[in-house]
């Protein structure tokens, strides 16, 4: 702002301290939050078939056997289906279902094996 023949004029906006301080702290908090990596949900994802549904499926199988559409014998309609886990819902009550956690963890391990560089970079984002 060198002064010329007519001089010069400068304007400066001042933010009050009571507004400035929380903003600074908020940014610092965002930087802290940024350090927290992905925290997956490890609980139950998919509800398992209920006993009544299993009975209906068994009935379908028996029907198919009775009409010669399936081989005779003691077959379980749920054969080939994964066994559901029991999840505690409190009060001594359990709910039957499946969690995608094992598949998710397998995928994470697999990407670390197949893309180690990227996986390391990813991990470093959350170091310290």
């Amino acid at each position: 702002m060198s002064g010329g023949k007519g001089g010069s004029q400068t304007q400066q906006t001042q933010i009050p301290d009571w507004a400035k301080e929380p903003t600074i702290r908020n940014i610092a908090r965002a930087e802290e939050a940024q350090k927290i990596g992905y925290m997956p949900y490890y609980g139950a994802d998919i509800a398992g078939f209920t006993p009544m549904e299993q009975m209906a499926m068994q009935s379908d199988l028996q029907s198919a056997q009775a009409f010669g559409l399936a081989p005779a014998g003691q077959y379980d309609a749920m054969a080939g289906m994964p066994q559901p886990q029991q999840f505690d819902i409190g009060g001594g009550q359990m709910v039957s279902g499946y969690s995608a956690t094992p598949l998710y963890e397998q995928a994470v391990a697999e990407v670390a094996r197949k893309q180690p560089t990227f996986a390391q970079r990813y991990g470093k984002l959350y170091e310290g």
């Binding site: 400068t10 908020n26 209920t50 709910v95």
Partner: protein, 232 residues
């Protein structure tokens, strides 16, 4: 139908699917049998079992009656011939011959008539049997159709019950799935809370009137100084 006995004294509940299947099979077999049914003809029928076993006895009794009458007739002729002092004569011989011819003719006619009646009666009985067999075949065909209807009804009942089981089970599963979804949503809220809370400050600042003070500084120039001097 009662359940079948199993080892350990347990009784297996009848399975509607098996019963329906058996019904369809039975009805099919019954219908095929009905389609293949060939009604018996009278010409192919052995009439011997239908013959009256007493026919011969009836004929013999009839013949005995006729012969007894003939004997009485011969005795009358002999008496008449003696009174006419013509016993053993030619007229007596002609009369006896005439009586014998009539007796033989009567015996033949009556015997033939009785045997014909017996044959007709045997034919009628055989015909009745053929009609009974046809009626039986018709009833079996009707029973097959009824069995098919029952089997169809049973299968439909089984399917309805099965559908109800599936629907109720699905409702129960949906409730459990909802529980899991809510848990997952709340967990997402938990993990997102730090990020979400960052916006609170911005929101508060945006909602609050912030007075902005402007400081204006002016650096005087040559013209300013000349103006000031002129005014002095």
């Amino acid at each position: 139908m009662a359940g079948s006995a199993q080892a350990g004294g347990q009784v297996a509940q009848p399975n509607i699917n098996v019963l329906a299947s058996q019904g369809v099979q039975g009805a099919g077999l019954g219908t095929v049998a009905g389609m293949q049914y060939q009604p018996q003809t009278l010409a192919q029928t052995n009439l011997a079992p239908y013959q009256d076993p007493y026919t011969q006895q009836v004929i013999e009794a009839q013949q005995a009656d006729v012969l007894r009458g003939a004997q009485m007739g011969l005795q009358n002729l002999a008496g008449q011939a003696q009174q006419a002092k013509a016993f053993g004569g030619s007229r007596h011989g002609v009369a006896m011959s005439e009586l014998g011819r009539g007796v033989a003719e009567t015996l033949g006619q009556q015997s033939a008539q009785l045997r014909s009646q017996a044959f007709q009666r045997a034919q009628e009985m055989a015909q009745q049997d053929i009609a009974n067999q046809m009626q039986g075949a018709q009833m079996r065909l009707g029973a097959s159709a009824q069995l098919a209807d029952i089997a169809n009804l049973g299968f439909g009942m089984g399917q309805t019950v099965r559908e109800n089981l599936m629907q109720q089970g699905a409702q129960q599963r949906a409730l459990q799935q909802q529980l899991m979804d809510v848990a997952q949503q709340r967990y997402q809220g938990y993990t997102q809370a730090p990020v979400t809370s960052l916006g609170y400050v911005s929101s508060a600042l945006g909602a609050s009137p912030i007075p902005q003070s402007q400081t204006t500084t002016k650096q005087a120039g040559l013209f300013d100084y000349l103006t000031l001097m002129a005014m002095a």
